[in-house]
Structure formats: structure tokens, C-alpha cells
């Protein structure tokens, strides 16, 4: 029996075939999937903020793009994934409210996406696909069997990347 493993806000987890891994209702947060297609192992982290060094209270690694990706790689290696084979897919980073003024606090979705990409690039992990930005929430499910990331949104057809 396959299971769907849930990842909460500021949380991470890993999964192996035939299981799948999901996070529900992503808004301005970003869901980052790292995947080793040979070992059929995948991990997901649901980050809320771009940069752990800007925040005093930063014990929870999964809360930030920079430390979250590091922590996810570590967890994946523990279950036997190969660091060098990892590829990435990301989704989320929406702007949920159409604020008229463009202050930094409100552009948090964009900044989360940006920071995730920069971190992946720094680590030499290839970003295969993304579904980011815009103004709506996303539920994402990743299937290590196929490497597909399914994206569900309110009033929109299922998107697969």
C-alpha cells in the first residue's frame, strides 16, 4: 500500500517509491522537491522565509530557503539518496493579496522563490521545473515513481510539471 506523506508549514520530510509526498495549501511559501531518480527517493521542504541569517529566531531549519534545502539534502542522504544525482522542482511563492504598495514585506512570495533558486544554483542542483508566483494557493504532490509534481489549485485544472 502506498502512502502520501504530509509536509506541514516550516517542515520537511522524505519518501521512497511507492509513497508520494505532499504539502497542502501553499501560499507565499515555497515547496521545494529534491529528487534522486535512480534511487527513486524524494524529499520536500515547505519554506516560509528566504534567509535564515536575517532572522534572530532561526532554530527551525525547515523555515528558511537556505537552511531548509541544506537540511533536506542531509535527510535525503540519510535514506540513501545520492547528493550528486539530486534534481529540483519548486512551486508556490504566490502573492495572495493584491497589495497596492510594493513594500518588501509583501513581496515575500517572490523573495522566497528567488532565494530558493539562488541556493539551488549555489549547490549545483539543477532546477527542472517550477510553477511559481501569481496570486493563488497550490496543493502539491510529488510522485517519486514518475518524477511528476502535481499541482492543484482552486477552480483550475490539475497541472503536472
Amino acid at each position: 500500500m502506498s502512502e502520501v506523506i504530509k509536509v506541514g508549514m516550516a517542515d520537511l520530510n522524505v519518501c521512497t517509491v511507492p509513497d508520494a509526498i505532499t504539502t497542502l495549501g501553499l501560499g507565499s511559501c515555497v515547496g521545494i522537491v529534491l529528487y534522486d531518480s535512480s534511487a527513486k527517493k524524494a524529499g520536500m521542504v515547505h519554506i516560509m522565509l528566504p534567509d535564515s541569517t536575517k532572522i534572530r529566531n532561526n532554530e527551525n531549519a525547515a523555515k528558511f530557503a537556505d537552511t531548509g534545502i541544506d537540511a533536506l539534502i542531509e535527510s535525503l542522504q540519510k535514506v540513501g539518496a545520492n547528493r550528486n544525482r539530486l534534481t529540483a522542482k519548486i512551486a508556490g511563492g504566490a502573492q495572495m493579496f493584491a497589495f497596492s504598495n510594493n513594500n518588501d514585506m509583501l513581496r515575500i512570495g517572490d523573495r522566497n522563490v528567488e532565494a530558493s533558486k539562488i541556493k539551488l544554483e549555489k549547490l549545483g542542483i539543477r532546477l527542472l521545473a517550477e510553477d511559481t508566483g501569481l496570486n493563488y494557493g497550490r496543493t502539491i504532490v510529488f510522485y517519486p515513481e514518475t518524477g511528476e509534481l502535481h499541482i492543484k489549485s482552486v477552480g483550475k485544472p490539475l497541472k503536472i510539471i
Partner: protein, 205 residues
């Protein structure tokens, strides 16, 4: 010292925030009652300090579709205030106010959506003005922004603000009811950490 650590709040601070929630929601309920020209009952607010993972569960789970109305706070108190309604409650309110017969999200017309936004505006305005009177500090609020989407996605906005200062979110839940049909609403007041200090200090804590 009026500095506050949300993860280690003492009972006194908790009670004060609860009382703020009580007064704010009480005023908001009165405003709502005037608006729909009928009696509206309000429950005693529950104040909960929740982990981010638990936050969407408060409003029916991360994928539950809700109406979120957000205003930004400016001036001596900075942050956000959010009012969340179950979609069923939103239909109900719009139907009472506009004499409509909305029963699903797709039924909303532009006019009804803007009425809904106005309801949010009045409710959050009433909440904030009573808070402002209580602490005797001016609070400037932005125009209301509305989003109808999954609870998890909408709550990510306040959660991220809380995330900057800790690993928990403070939520003040108040339920309204009108006759038999419940109108369920939740308030989330999200002052910045400095503003928490300002609020508590102004109350002599």
C-alpha cells in the same frame, strides 16, 4: 520590560491579548449586527498560540476554501489584521445584506464580492478602532484586501509574519451566530514585535 517573546509569553500578557481580542471582537460584532439589522451573538474569544502546522486546522484544514480579508496597520502600531470567514458564512452574510441567493463561490457577482469586502472592512475597522481607543494610540489601517482561496495559502501570509519572530502564531478566534445559522469568523491580529511592546506598554505592562 514590555518586550515580548511569543514562545514564552506569561499568563498576564496572554490575558491582556485575550482581552484585546474580546473588546475588538465585541465591537466588530456590534458593527455586524447593525449592518445586517439583526441580533448577532458572539462567543467568548479563544486565544491560541499555535504551531504553524496546526494553524490551518483551526479553520477547517489547509485545503478548506475560506474568505480572507486583510488590512495593513501603519503608524505607531505596525503589522496586519486579518479576518477569516468560512465560505458558508460569507454566502450567508451576503444573502442577508444583498437579498441574494448565493450558495457557491461561482455565484458571486462583482457587486456581491465588493459587498463582502466592505463587510470585512467594517468588521476589521470596528475591531481596530476599539483597540485604538483602549490603548489610546492611533492605528492607521489600509484599504482591505480580499482573497478567496485555500486556508493554508491565505494563512501563509500572517504565518510568515509570525515566522520572522518565532515558531508560533497567535490567533484570536471568535464565532458569530445569527439565528440558527452560524456565521463563523476568525480574527488574527499580527502586530510586529515592536508593536506588541507598544501595546503592552500602553496598558502599563
Amino acid at each position: 520590560m514590555s518586550n515580548i517573546n511569543l514562545d514564552q509569553m506569561d499568563n498576564m500578557q496572554f490575558d491582556v491579548l485575550k482581552e484585546i481580542g474580546n473588546i475588538g471582537a465585541g465591537n466588530a460584532t456590534t458593527a455586524l449586527s447593525k449592518m445586517i439589522n439583526g441580533k448577532v451573538d458572539m462567543s467568548v474569544p479563544e486565544v491560541a498560540l499555535l504551531e504553524f502546522k496546526e494553524l490551518p486546522e483551526m479553520v477547517g484544514g489547509a485545503e478548506n476554501i475560506v474568505v480572507g480579508i486583510l488590512v495593513q496597520l501603519d503608524g505607531e502600531i505596525n503589522g496586519m489584521m486579518m479576518f477569516i470567514m468560512e465560505t458558508e458564512s460569507a454566502y450567508h452574510l451576503v444573502n442577508i445584506l444583498m437579498g441574494s441567493t448565493v450558495s457557491k463561490f461561482e455565484d458571486f457577482t462583482e457587486l456581491e464580492l465588493s459587498a463582502l469586502q466592505e463587510i470585512g472592512n467594517i468588521i476589521s475597522g470596528a475591531y481596530l478602532s476599539s483597540l485604538s481607543t483602549l490603548i489610546n494610540i492611533r492605528i492607521d489601517a489600509s484599504i482591505p484586501y480580499m482573497s478567496i482561496d485555500m486556508a493554508g495559502a491565505i494563512l501563509s501570509v500572517p504565518a510568515i509574519e509570525f515566522g520572522k519572530v518565532g515558531d508560533k502564531a497567535l490567533m484570536i478566534e471568535t464565532k458569530f451566530s445569527k439565528d440558527d445559522s452560524d456565521v463563523k469568523g476568525y480574527f488574527i491580529l499580527i502586530p510586529t514585535l515592536e508593536s506588541y511592546g507598544v501595546i503592552l506598554k500602553s496598558l502599563g505592562l
